[in-house]
Symmetry: C2
Subunit: 400 residues, 2 copies
């Protein structure tokens, strides 16, 4: 199958290109390298020493026996997107080409505007290119479980049956996102839902949980095939950051009470799920939503898991909560459905400890890279608008 | 009170500036004159012969005894918005500065992108300027009843009590917009709701029905004070278009079955409602939604009302349905709440016939202007993407 991956230079994009190439798919990708620049703006870099796209493409061809067709370009430029579609005519588009950071969107007005317009316009251009050029193609769009926020009730997969004053309907579940970034994903979901109704597009909107992991099996043995792994306060995510903290002896830092619950999944499960969506496309006109995660964990529980896994490797680490830079509930009900992918055959890894061991071993190799940027392990973007590295929540002596 | 009206050159903006000035408020406005350009792009103009802003400002000062402080500029430019807020420090912002046309947003990819980015970015800039400079100000944001679409159940005012698997919540009512424009308003509503939660802004989000009318009382006697009135297929709305059609002997043209129901209100009621919102601001941190319309009518019923009102003035007109250029339900349940404004003291005019008579008399004066652009009375933007003037639904002989 011809699969187009906008955002192919990213954490998920570079992994997915390999995962699908290993399964015989024909892969094309596009990227503007904005992610590398944005992480640079936050004074950080990838913990893994990722190589240039030229080198990535060489390694890709050596390992998978065929080219990854690549275009450098910006999805917010219509002519670029249109030309890619005319040349490659994808059968599936896996849209990983958005700015994925909540804190980055909260920096100031310019970042808020950039993240929302970048994400909305890129998705518009892909949808219109599909309508005009490949109307039968399947759009797999990366959303986030964060679109739902933390309502005080179960979270269905996109839609729910509701009764209001005696009339019943099957309606979109109201979203309650918690950052300008998360709202950009809601806006995108709404636009895609409408495009399916309007033009008969096929779309799978993936409400993905927080992904963790340094690698998938395909990458073994060649450092050029490694995907990026961010650990700064803006582009790094919970478990990845805890592991980076552990390997340099930095405290593991949940926010606030640390009782926030989220859905998590290993990188290898994300690849498995996206592949299942790709292998079982939506019907023409169908807009379907998959909640994509393995299991719900509390954030501090995960810090304890990382601490325990590190200890087995002889690494001591402490857990120290930070003052929460976000506006969010720190202790809440959380029970999202995630049945659709299981129905398609998703087999969750269910071995977080094994995954953490691999991560810690991988990251130990690169601890000098992490240590060189250790300041960014403490977030400095506050939801209320000011910008400074947040403090620890408790005095370490007092809380001991 | 110091009231800032972005979009002051528009249909509602120019009317509101006068309505509030007559009540003693200090008015400032901004406009980029995009509306005049957009309507020109659709090969149309205002039925009323609106004068330049320079002349408008002169007339305003003569009639209301004080200046309307005016800046020409684009709300998507942050420096412009910031400088206006620093200079004027508004106590209320009535945001009428968005692109208001569903068909215009459906022209092609570029129009879809322009309408959504223009509307999202302008609202972002106003919200951030409020946060930074006038955090206690009240934002009155013009949304549309079209955000809800036509769900098969009652429509509450923004939020509803819902039960799902035994747990109860008070949640945003799921939106079901029907054009890229209408979705831009949903995106804006979502962003404002979040800003109120995040920063404690005060906001009233007005889900306004379809406005009709050529004037408010304040405009009487001076043509320079008249507001614009559009009749083209993109910027004109149902009753205004029917009246323009009637005065030049053009058929009145509902779409499809013509059983679509919408909430409508006269321009004078819109002014009354916006003033009530302004006089009773939202609390700090409160995001409230008002459904703002007088009454629900079927579109063909309205065409009959216009036909009857015209007949009393000696104008014969026929009603001829067009092939529907839109994707929408043509016969549906529709029962939206509209209690909040009544609770604040809104007194609906409840005299559509009197309003239609004024409109037809006004527009008769300008029938040459309408006739000069009569082609645009038939819409040419189709929701499916192609662009041509739509045909009549039935052969006139066969349907007689």
């Amino acid at each position: 199958m011809r699969v187009f991956i906008p955002g192919v230079d990213g954490y998920l994009g570079w992994s997915l290109a390999q995962h699908l190439a290993a399964r015989g798919h024909e892969i094309a990708g596009a990227d503007s390298f904005f992610r590398r620049k944005w992480v640079g703006e936050m004074e950080s870099w990838s913990a893994t020493p990722i190589v240039s796209m030229d080198e990535r493409l060489k390694a890709f061809k050596e390992h998978y026996g065929r080219e990854l067709v690549f275009w450098e370009g910006d999805l917010t430029e219509w002519d670029f997107v249109e030309s890619v579609f005319k040349e490659f005519r994808p059968e599936t588009v896996v849209h990983l080409g958005e700015c994925p950071s909540a804190p980055f969107s909260m920096v100031d007005v310019h970042h808020a505007v950039m993240v929302q317009t970048n994400n909305i316009v890129s998705t518009f251009h892909l949808m219109f290119a599909m309508k005009d050029i490949t109307p039968d193609a399947h759009l797999i769009k990366l959303g986030t479980m964060g679109e739902y926020g933390t309502p005080d009730m179960d979270i269905p997969e996109g839609f729910f049956d509701v009764e209001f004053r005696g009339r019943k309907g099957h309606m979109p579940f109201p979203r309650g996102a918690g950052s300008w970034y998360h709202w950009s994903k809601v806006h995108g979901s709404n636009n895609i839902m409408f495009a399916c109704k309007l033009w008969g597009l096929r779309a799978t909107d993936v409400m993905q949980g927080v992904v963790f992991g340094t690698r998938i099996d395909e990458m073994a043995g060649d450092e050029r095939l490694l995907t990026r792994l961010d650990f700064d306060g803006s582009f790094g995510t919970a478990i990845n950051r805890f592991c980076c903290q552990a390997v340099i002896g930095h405290p593991l830092t949940p926010f606030g009470k640390g009782l926030q619950k989220r859905g998590f999944l290993p990188l290898r499960d994300s690849m498995q799920c996206l592949t299942l969506a790709l292998d079982h496309p939506a019907e023409a006109g169908e807009y379907r939503v998959f909640n994509q995660f393995e299991e719900v964990y509390g954030v501090t529980d995960l810090a304890h898991k990382v601490q325990a896994a590190a200890e087995k490797l002889g690494i001591e680490s402490e857990i120290r909560a930070l003052v929460n830079p976000r506006v969010e509930l720190e202790d809440h009900y959380y029970n999202p459905d995630h049945q659709h992918l299981l129905d398609l055959g998703y087999r969750p890894s269910h071995d977080v400890d094994a995954e953490l061991r691999i991560m810690l071993e991988d990251l130990t190799k690169y601890c000098d890279r992490i240590d060189a940027k250790r300041d960014v392990l403490i977030p400095d973007v506050k939801w209320k608008g000011d910008r400074e590295r947040v403090a620890y929540l408790h005095d370490p002596v007092a809380s001991a």
